[in-house]
Amino acid sequence: MDVDLIFKIAAVGIIVSILNQVLERSGREEQATMTTLAALVVVLMIVVQKIADLFDLVKSLFNF
């Protein structure tokens, strides 16, 4: 079971939330939003790939 990716994305989440807080407290709310959005898009690209792999596995196991 590949857990490294989960922990990497959790680390990205922690970094993004810290950056978000720092930028918001500095008064740079637009940059905070852009940073969060960029991180979200990157993580979504990775997750979609893994979800596609899961669906392929289900298709092959259950004879779709």
Partner: protein, 130 residues
């Protein structure tokens, strides 16, 4: 057993992480939860393959067509996917989407079982002599 322990440990750690960071970045916590669910699901499905091999052997022994067993497997897969996807939509706060996914799963399961129902209908017609 080791795989189950790994799945439990990873899911618990992921749950704690999501609870802690939901307030700060809800989008990424949902994605982390989704990734963890996908990884755990993939690991669980790999453990399921001996059961599927047993079912294939059973099918060969009984001599029944794959048209009888295949809808059962497809319905099981549709049910699992619809249930889990609906739960993730509800976790993301989109209860309506979750219900729609569940409804689509029900409709598709019914469509999958239609060939089996037609076989039964043909058998009944043969027996009744209609």
């Amino acid at each position: 057993m080791e795989t189950l322990l790994k799945i439990c440990a990873v899911c618990v750690i992921c749950g704690v992480f999501c609870a802690m960071f939901r307030r700060y970045s809800p989008g990424i916590t949902i994605l982390v939860s989704l990734l963890c669910g996908a990884a755990a699901g993939a690991a669980a499905l790999h453990m399921f393959s001996p059961v599927l091999d047993f079912l294939k052997r059973l099918q060969k022994l009984t001599g029944m067509e794959s048209a009888v067993f295949s809808p059962l497997l497809k319905t099981a897969a549709i049910g699992i996917l619809a249930e889990i996807s609906g739960a993730f939509c509800q976790d993301a706060g989109e209860a309506a989407l979750g219900k729609i996914v569940a409804l689509c799963g029900t409709i598709l399961s019914t469509v999958c079982l239609l060939p089996l129902a037609l076989l039964v209908l043909d058998l009944l017609q043969t027996m009744i002599g209609g």
